[in-house]
């Protein structure tokens, strides 16, 4: 938060439209964090190395922790945290389509790790100096933990990208995730992104966030020869996508291409259906 600017201590202080957009954004982030944590946890015992399994465990715990903080924060926006965490139907989730089903192969998980996880971090980074104080105070620790998630993804892309077979596997897995992440920030001029930026809740609009994400992941996928990004040849130093996102069916409320939500197995796990009788409060 820039010194001298007025901060917002609670949601009730925000202008109505900004409060609605921010509440929606926090649900989007919480759902993605919670489900991404589940996808990391799927690989605790099946990762290609013991250390990679431990890394998945640590990243899952980080994501669940971040999700829990966000769901709790939503109470002040008029949501009921227990309902958000345990009572919703699949169609009410606002996670990226990529998290609806399992990451079947290790490169699929790496794509979520490097591209999707970084997209979430870029959105949080935009709130590091937010005028909305409850978010502003949480972002620094969260980003500190996320730094190692990015390095894990980068380390594995470097490793697999060094062989023809590994590079081909990465290309197959990264292409759909790349397209979905490009789109996830919303179209240039997106209303919610603009309103949050103008209110000082974020430091970039949708186009600015996409550019920041490209700047972060572009050099990694280029080094891995994944044919997804390139630096502007005009010497501007700007990273460009070699793929145009499709906006067919784009729904700005849920920030995904089509309503849907987690598959039945994931829904049962993320809501904690198996342990429902143990929920005491």
């Amino acid at each position: 938060m820039t010194e001298g600017t007025k901060g917002y201590a609670k949601p009730a202080d925000l202008p109505d439209d900004v409060r609605d957009h921010l509440g929606s954004l926090l649900i989007v982030l919480a759902d993605n964090k919670r489900l991404l944590g589940m996808r990391y946890s799927d690989w605790l015992l099946g990762a290609p190395a013991l250390e990679a399994g431990i890394a998945c465990s640590a990243m899952a715990q980080d994501e669940w922790g971040h999700g829990r903080i966000l769901y709790a924060m939503l109470r002040d926006f008029g949501y009921e945290a227990n309902q958000l965490e345990h009572e919703r139907e699949a169609s009410e989730y606002r996670n990226m389509e990529l998290l609806d089903g399992p990451a079947g192969e290790w490169p699929d998980l790496l794509a979520l790790n490097l591209l999707l996880d970084t997209a979430l971090s870029v959105q949080f980074e935009a709130m590091a100096e937010s005028r909305f104080e409850p978010v502003h105070y949480k972002v620094s620790k969260l980003l500190d933990e996320e730094r190692f998630h990015f390095e894990h993804g980068r380390g594995w892309v470097t490793r697999l990208g060094s062989t023809d077979a590994g590079r081909e596997a990465l290309r197959r897995s990264f292409r759909p995730v790349w397209e979905a992440c490009l789109r996830w920030f919303g179209p240039d001029g997106d209303e919610a992104g603009r309103a949050l930026h103008q209110a000082g809740i974020t430091d970039k609009d949708a186009a600015g966030l996409r550019a920041r994400w490209l700047e972060r992941v572009g050099p990694v996928v280029e080094a891995g020869q994944l044919e997804l990004a390139e630096m502007d040849g005009g010497g501007s130093g700007v990273w460009l996508s070699r793929v145009e996102p499709s906006w067919d069916g784009w729904d700005p409320d849920v920030r995904r291409g089509a309503r849907g939500g987690p598959d039945a197995d994931m829904l049962a796990r993320v809501r904690g259906d198996k342990n429902r009788p143990l929920l005491m409060d």
Binding site: A49, L50, E51, A52, I54, A55, S57, A58, M59, F148, E151, H152, R154, G155, W156, T158, R159, L160, S162, T163, G166
Partner: protein, 77 residues
């Protein structure tokens, strides 16, 4: 695809502390060596953690390689 290598892990809890050797991880490159070290040895809130490839260490006073275990300990690894 990047040969697996052992990285020795050292850490200290506070700036005034000396580094302790806390373990090792196996990784194909130093990026992953750093990540694995941080995520594996997370039992303390470390002020600083560093890693180095095992083969960067040279024994000064003994003929065997550094970090060589006693034969009875090798059996446990």
């Amino acid at each position: 695809m990047g040969k697996l290598q052992l990285y020795e892990v050292f850490a200290r809890r506070q700036r005034a502390d000396r580094f302790e050797h806390i373990g090792c991880v196996e990784a194909p490159n130093s990026d992953l060596g750093r990540v694995y070290a941080w995520q594996t040895y997370d039992e303390a809130k470390w002020f600083e953690m560093i890693v180095a490839p095992r083969d960067a260490f040279h024994c000064v006073n003994r003929p065997e390689q550094p970090f060589t275990l006693h034969p009875s300990e090798e059996a446990l690894t």
